[in-house]
Symmetry: D2
Subunit: 132 residues, 4 copies
Amino acid sequence: MIESVSNIQVRYAETDMMGIVYHANYLPWLEIGRTELLRENGLPYKEIEARGVMLPVLEVNVKYKRPAKYDDTVSIHTRISEKPFLKIKIDYELKRGDELLATATTLHAFMNSKGVPVKPPTFFKEALAKHY
Amino acid sequence: MIESVSNIQVRYAETDMMGIVYHANYLPWLEIGRTELLRENGLPYKEIEARGVMLPVLEVNVKYKRPAKYDDTVSIHTRISEKPFLKIKIDYELKRGDELLATATTLHAFMNSKGVPVKPPTFFKEALAKHY
Amino acid sequence: MIESVSNIQVRYAETDMMGIVYHANYLPWLEIGRTELLRENGLPYKEIEARGVMLPVLEVNVKYKRPAKYDDTVSIHTRISEKPFLKIKIDYELKRGDELLATATTLHAFMNSKGVPVKPPTFFKEALAKHY
Amino acid sequence: MIESVSNIQVRYAETDMMGIVYHANYLPWLEIGRTELLRENGLPYKEIEARGVMLPVLEVNVKYKRPAKYDDTVSIHTRISEKPFLKIKIDYELKRGDELLATATTLHAFMNSKGVPVKPPTFFKEALAKHY
């Protein structure tokens, strides 16, 4: 299992007229969580793409529990529980202090620069291997 | 069952450096789909909020099949299959011509302006009643 | 002089907790205005980029007069007054009915796919030539 | 003169298909810069709004010099040079290391919660008074 925690501070631009964070704006936070997790394991996403591998999102699921608000500090708890095979599944918990704001899951494929699905590249598997 | 079809044209602002639409940017399209469905049934969302009722998103699920691209015309097929009780479940298909780009589901609660969950208001149920 | 009018309907996603459209969200509307103007003159922006020419934004200026609100229909009045030479200057008026919401100007360069500034290509100049 | 420096890291969501940051996405960074400047001077923007005062954007001007890219660390140098009277003018420089990416200016009014322009409130003037 691989875990990581990142923090973001809610931007005014991320709110809507309901006075809370617009629900779509949680998705870039998930991306911050997973890129930090990968970076901490020697896999900066910029380098992954530079090596010709992309990780497009196949599925996203978010359950909203409590609204995030302007200027909140939100911690993004990111976890990869299963060894990636053809796809990679990532779980998230978004919290304000101890309070759970949302849970989420994303599913990703490995794809080359021509858009063709590929197996996880060796450098990717090796970087994560110590955790399994 | 209630159905509606809306169309959007992909904006440059909605793309990312992968050359396709950034996955979070599908969520505002879903909102366009459901607000059009409600409007066609006599329920402009602006009036729903003016009557003190909000429909916050509790859950969102998206399955991405094929990438939407800049300048594509995307049709949003929106459907409410089940009579809303405490929650309202909405299904979506996003298409480019006959090609399925994504499927999605959102789940909403009814909430008053103080953030307290409420039952679907009478005016809301009556507007949709003819379909059930 | 070349003119064009486009219309957009304000999305919930474009509002902020002040209850009005977040100021940054006017900029994609300007882009809709200028791409429609170019399209109406035989220059779909997608084809311009396909021919290896990009029109990056060098400057943007917006004066906000009255707030746009959720569900408003906003008309984007776009105008190219001066024949493009090395740069292209575009003016905009955003209106809700007769009411002026904002005025704006953008300045663009012509750039090839390597990021090098170039002169306006012949196909571009010819498409607009009838207006000068 | 009042100055402040903030840092942001470019999000994937902020890029577009040109491979660089979409120009509209610089505007929320300016907001981060000015809210940090105000916070450092005892004026968290959330508290300003809680006291019934808003600072809507009247004008924004951005000059783009070099493109910001995914994962860049961008420093936002924010400055208030003139004592606010009825309006407040804020200047910005966006840098990647020593490299200037963009300069910008925003102009703001003071407005009460009913949308009526007001003078800068006393608590606001006092918080900044030591700098003039």
